[in-house]
């Protein structure tokens, strides 16, 4: 009913507007010299607004951005991002200036004549070759870094962890003493064996299933991802890491944590961001204050609770990690 009411109001406004047009002068249709001059000025006003917004965003929204990479592999991502961002920032500022300044500068009038200028191979060559050269640099660095991240072959003593997704939770399985994960398939899902681990595979026996990730600092982590229902995406923004979890196949990603959670909390940009968030939380009257933690979140639309699918990641020193992993029960002891 309410919808009908809204639609009725809309129609009423439309009808009264239509009546008003009877007396309006709609004859003004083609830009005159005065319009050109006004609109040219507005183009400059708009440019000022746009530049102010860009500069405001670049300076004051900086604090929103993710802190520096918490993985060694991500350092080059941050570098490449900085290079790219500076580059496109400069080009953006120049191009937008040209667009709106020309709109103002060459606004038309009756006594002006446009220049007949149809072609210049020299100019076109310049703006074909310049971007091409810049792109060679970006592509080379980018591809080098891509291969760097995606190559998981050389790490023999990496910590192997399976991250397992389902609507709407994450679980994880550590490979245990043998550092080899037992096989898994949805057909083995039964009762307490929620990840569908094949318990007849002897590699499975020492695996350890957990609901929260602990990672040792400075050691390569080799993630293997599985999903039991729909696509999910394991997104670990602080580590510059993301990979889709695809039902029916195993996907992989790897990185080496650089800072423990404690170290990260002491970083200046993290403190600043945390304080900012807590100021907002206090203003909203939230009881619980925010404390920095690494997170794994779902980044592929997966259903109603997609927006609340997360797992905490804690990075600790090696000895603390060893103590923690020793406390976790093996699958053999849990699944009888």
């Amino acid at each position: 009913m309410l919808a009908l009411f809204y639609i009725f109001i809309g129609v009423a406004i439309g009808v009264s507007f239509w009546q008003i047009t009877r007396v309006l002068n709609l004859r003004e249709v083609i830009a005159t010299d005065k319009d050109n001059s006004n609109q040219g000025k507005y183009a400059i006003f708009f440019m000022v607004f746009f530049y102010a917004m860009m500069i405001y965003c670049l300076i004051f929204m900086n604090v929103l951005m993710l802190p520096e990479s918490a993985s060694f592999e991500g350092e080059h991502d941050d570098n490449l991002f900085d290079i790219s961002f500076w580059l496109i920032g400069i080009v953006q500022f120049i191009m937008q200036f040209l667009i709106f300044y020309f709109t103002f500068k060459y606004r038309g009038s009756k006594d002006k004549k446009a220049k007949y200028f149809a072609d210049s191979h020299f100019l076109e060559l310049i703006w074909t070759i310049t971007p091409a050269l810049v792109l060679v640099v970006l592509i080379s660095y980018g591809l080098w870094q891509w291969n760097n991240i995606m190559d998981l072959s050389d790490e023999k003593d990496a910590v192997v962890i399976e991250v397992y997704s389902q609507q709407f939770r994450w679980d994880a399985r550590y490979a245990g003493e043998d550092n080899t994960l037992g096989l898994g398939n949805v057909n083995y899902i039964k009762g307490i064996n929620t990840m569908g681990v094949d318990m007849t595979d002897k590699n499975s026996l020492d695996d350890k299933q957990v609901t929260e990730l602990y990672l040792p600092k400075g050691k390569k982590i080799h993630f293997k991802f599985r999903s039991q229902d729909v696509l999910h995406s394991a997104y670990m923004p602080h580590f510059r890491a993301q990979m889709n979890c695809v039902p029916g196949m195993v996907t992989e990603f790897g990185f080496t944590p650089k800072y423990t959670t404690e170290e990260m909390r002491l970083k200046e940009e993290v403190i600043e961001k945390t304080n900012g968030i807590n100021k907002i939380r206090r203003a909203k009257g939230e009881e619980e204050m925010y404390e920095f933690n690494y997170l794994l979140l779902c980044n592929k639309i997966c259903g109603a609770s997609h927006y609340n699918m997360q797992m905490k990641i804690t990075v600790v020193e090696q000895d603390e990690y060893d103590r923690w992993i020793a406390k976790q029960p093996t699958l053999a002891s849990v699944i009888k």
């Binding site: 917004m53 991500g74 004549k113 149809a118």
Partner: protein, 593 residues
């Protein structure tokens, strides 16, 4: 054709019309209707994003059983973003933009009486109409419309157990898209055949206006890529209804193991994006073509680098068919493929840069007539540059890892293809309105419309980049579950205000459009002093476009401000005025361009 004078009834003239001009108006009005739905939906979900889980009587009014006391359900949020994307990309920017202007302009600008097949053209529109009807009906099914995202990745889109929208809503979505693709293919084939065969005497391919080149190439990539989406949709229908396993494997849901074995969702992603990426250019190229024409006409200058523009359209079109994998860097496909797709993707920046620079050079030393159409074209160049530049970041696979599926992507593609294409569409409407309705649109309302729209467009999408860089994933119903994103909430509120103002501001355009149809100033034959052939037809529409013979073409479309002395910018115009219609023969000794 013109000497065939059959009696026109109301039905053959306004409904089952085979006249390309009427069909183009039908496409435009249907597209605008769908656009209103699409934009309205975006306003609703923007309100949910800014004020999560708050109660609004607006939701109560429009969301039916998909809200509880005025609070939007999470499933409905996903449905809204899904249908918003689908409607805007396909129904507004593919059919509404390309359908309208290809139909209106192709016969008029190449000098033809009508499309090669008027009947197929009519079929194309009515299939589009049918698919729109099916899509609108899908909004009213009980479990809700399709809600797996506009990319409808299985298994989410295949399993009603996974999300309620994947039941009847998804079925209707797929049926609607299948009909839509048929419509689009028939239309595209017609455009290609018409441009190849029905050009008037003297209209060589190298004399075609750039709009024609853009529509022509767009139609070709449509024909190449849309059938692949159709195959993906059909296979998905098989998986959903007939128990096949093309895209599904090893699934345990709602406590049971499903029978699907051996399929792969990654296969679907390949098929989808093989259309999905060219689709971006199917949307964008017509807008760029329209802009080329309008910037040149209203600058009173030839378009700079005509041949380079054609070359870059072709290069963009070719590259667009081999870059689809950049949507899938982290899908689990072989990393080597990621390298290849990064390479081809970043290459697109070169022809795009050429186009942007050529537009700016066309403005340089022009005599800019700042009509609303011209302002929208300039706005397009601006948003195309802003949005295009961030493509360099996203196209780089190493950087994409961390911003994939965040709001950074949302900001990027809305600016570069959404806002740009919409601006191209508005520019085209303001410019060719006299050709459609014989009247002109009011300029004051046009100016208000432009400035409100561009300010709001940037107000929405520029800050959104930074929310993405904060790591906030898209398609989150609310980010209240993540205290780490609490500090973006203020920005989200600001963005929503801009979105609401921008959305409501479009009413100015709608009012201007419909009032001008009936009360607008009557147009002269060539209100913008343009060179192209469509302005040599009479203002009143006649079947067959030209009374008597079709004019012959003697020159390219861009002889604006041609001077007696090419070296001296202030010398007299060679033809006594600053424009020369394509139908005017070369003077003795005049250099063809």
């Amino acid at each position: 054709m013109s000497d065939h004078h059959h009696k026109e009834t109301f039905v053959t003239k306004y409904i089952f019309s085979q006249d390309h001009k009427m069909i183009s108006k039908q496409f435009l009005v249907t597209g605008m209707f769908m656009g209103i739905i699409g934009v309205f939906m975006s306003m609703l979900f923007r309100m949910q994003i800014a004020w999560p889980e708050q109660s609004f009587s607006l939701f109560e009014a429009f969301l039916g059983s998909h809200q509880t006391d005025g609070v939007m359900d999470p499933d409905m949020y996903l449905a809204l973003v899904t249908i918003h994307g689908t409607i805007m990309v396909f129904f507004v920017l593919t059919a509404g933009l390309s359908g309208t202007f290809s139909n209106l302009l192709i016969p008029l600008q190449i000098g033809a009486r009508d499309m090669a097949s008027g009947f197929l053209n009519m079929v194309s529109y009515w299939l589009f109409f049918l698919s729109s009807v099916v899509m609108v009906i899908s909004l009213f099914v009980e479990a809700g419309p399709a809600s797996a995202g506009w990319t409808i990745y299985p298994p989410l889109s295949a399993l009603p157990q996974a999300i309620p929208g994947s039941g009847a809503g998804m079925t209707l979505w797929l049926v609607s898209m299948a009909i839509f693709i048929a419509s689009s293919l028939i239309g595209s084939l017609n455009y290609i055949v018409t441009i190849f065969n029905l050009r008037t005497k003297g209209m060589k391919m190298t004399r075609l206006p750039l709009t024609m080149w853009a529509f022509f190439i767009t139609a070709i990539i449509g024909v190449v890529s849309f059938p692949v989406l159709l195959s993906a949709a059909l296979l998905l229908i098989f998986d959903r209804s007939f128990g096949t396993s093309f895209f599904l494997s090893d699934i345990f849901i709602s406590g049971e193991v499903l029978h699907y074995q051996g399929g792969s969702p990654v296969l679907f992603e390949h098929l989808f994006w093989f259309l999905g990426h060219p689709e971006v250019y199917i949307v964008l190229l017509p807008a760029l073509g329209i802009t080329s024409e309008i910037i040149s006409t209203h600058s009173r200058k030839p378009i700079f680098g005509y041949r380079a523009m054609i070359g870059s359209i072709m290069a963009i079109a070719f590259l667009s068919t081999i870059v689809w994998g950049h949507h899938m860097f982290i899908s689990g496909m072989n990393p080597f493929l990621g390298s290849v797709f990064t390479f081809t993707t970043v290459l697109i920046a070169i022809p795009s840069a050429v186009k942007a620079f050529n537009y700016i050079t066309t403005l340089w030393k022009g005599n800019l007539q700042l009509n609303p159409a011209m302002l929208f074209s300039i706005g397009l160049v601006s948003t195309f540059v802003t949005g295009g530049l961030t493509g360099l970041v996203l196209g780089d696979s190493a950087l994409d890892i961390n911003i994939h599926d965040t709001y950074f992507v949302v900001a990027h593609f809305h600016l570069v293809m959404g806002v740009s294409a919409i601006f191209g569409m508005y520019a085209g409407i303001y410019h060719w309105f006299p050709k459609m309705y014989g009247r002109l649109m009011n300029k004051a309302m046009g100016y208000w419309h432009f400035w409100i729209t561009i300010i709001c467009a940037y107000g929405v999408f520029f800050p959104m980049h930074f929310i993405g860089l904060a790591g906030l994933p898209r398609r989150y119903y609310s980010n209240t579950a993540f205290p780490m994103f609490d500090d973006v909430s203020d920005t989200n509120v600001v963005i929503t205000y801009f979105a609401l103002i921008g959305g409501i501001g479009q009413i100015i355009f709608l009012a201007n459009f419909f009032i001008s149809i009936y009360r607008g100033e009557k147009s002269s034959q060539n209100p913008w002093n343009s060179n192209t052939l469509e302005w040599t037809t009479p203002v009143e529409h006649i079947h067959g476009n030209w009374p008597g013979k079709i004019p012959e073409v003697h020159r390219w479309a861009y002889d604006y401000s041609k001077k007696v002395d090419p070296e001296d910018d202030n010398s007299d115009y060679l033809h006594g005025k600053d424009w020369v219609s394509q139908t005017v023969p070369l003077l003795p000794g005049e250099e063809p361009s």
